[in-house]
Symmetry: C2
DNA sequence: TTTGTTGCAAATCGTTTGCAAGCTA
DNA sequence: TAGCTTGCAAACGATTTGCAACAAA
């Protein structure tokens, strides 16, 4: 990608997103990967999203754009960003994956409404603590964890029935 | 399935498994479903397993048997048993599902070794408590949850490196 | 130029489904 | 017998991959 295009993209993004894209660019260079138009466009879109998304949803975002991006490329970029540690993959029990970007987004767990799919994030230091303990008690060295609570949100908890 | 066959299966199973199969049979009848040879064989096998398994693994168990069972049937039975509340489905981040039977098997969470796949079960009432609280605080009515801790077990935590 | 990247379509892989033949009740 | 089940193969849906054309360094 030539410098003009790259700057064109960078100029219209907010500072926070810009920094994250910078981090991504550096990762690409470090790995001997190339900084392409599609990679920057997808990264920009992802860092601008402040909720969970799917590969399909991301693809959707580019549907009516002048810059269309193929499904294969979307998946390939998602994969790179996960390796780069910029993106986290989630399994919410569906048969497709959810993603969310990590930078400026501290660790948290999820509560998912099984009716409408609404996702709420939360953290409880005490739970984190206890997990750490449980792993240690069982001789494990924690590398990560995923805690998903399933239930029905206010709007969908029919109190009657 | 005729009574003889059914008894033949029942007679060689341990009491606990027998009771669980009984529960399954009752569920089938209640739902107007039929008690078939394959359903009993698969149920018996499942209730005899005391660890997590996959559809593929279960199928494997019948590979060299006189009573072969098709992949489609395996999946159909798994689905029924999940609906019956006798089997729990798990998503351990792999692209296939894990199952474990529930009867005589209280709720618990999992610690999974990312190197060897070893799965350890644990429960911490305090964590359960805190989750309940977190959901309530966010206006959710909990219907279930899944807590998976990923890490490396003693044998695979290379202390160096 | 050299080497990595893209888009396309075909391939995978776990899981599901249509359908004719076979059981259960 | 009537109605559910089974096995088989084909269908699915998300994700991956081979390959020729193309862009970045």
């Amino acid at each position: 990608m030539n410098r003009e295009k790259q700057e064109a993209i960078l100029n219209k993004t907010e500072p926070a997103v810009r920094m994250e894209m910078q981090t991504f660019s550096e990762y690409l260079q470090k790995e001997g990967l190339k900084i392409t138009n599609q990679r920057m466009l997808v990264a920009e879109r992802i860092f601008s999203l402040h909720n969970h998304f799917t590969a399909e949803g991301l693809l959707e975002e580019f549907k009516d754009q002048r810059d269309q991006i193929s499904k294969a490329t979307i998946y390939r970029i998602l994969s790179i960003m996960v390796s780069a540690g910029l993106l986290q993959e989630h399994n919410f029990g569906k048969d497709y994956k959810y993603y969310e970007h990590i930078i400026g987004h501290k660790h948290h767990d999820h509560i998912i409404c099984t009716v409408c799919g609404k996702i709420v994030e939360f953290v409880d230091e005490r739970i984190e603590q206890l997990q750490e303990q449980a792993a240690k008690d069982n001789g494990f060295k924690i590398t990560g964890h995923s805690l998903n609570i399933y239930g029905t949100c206010i709007e969908h908890s029919s109190s009657g029935r």
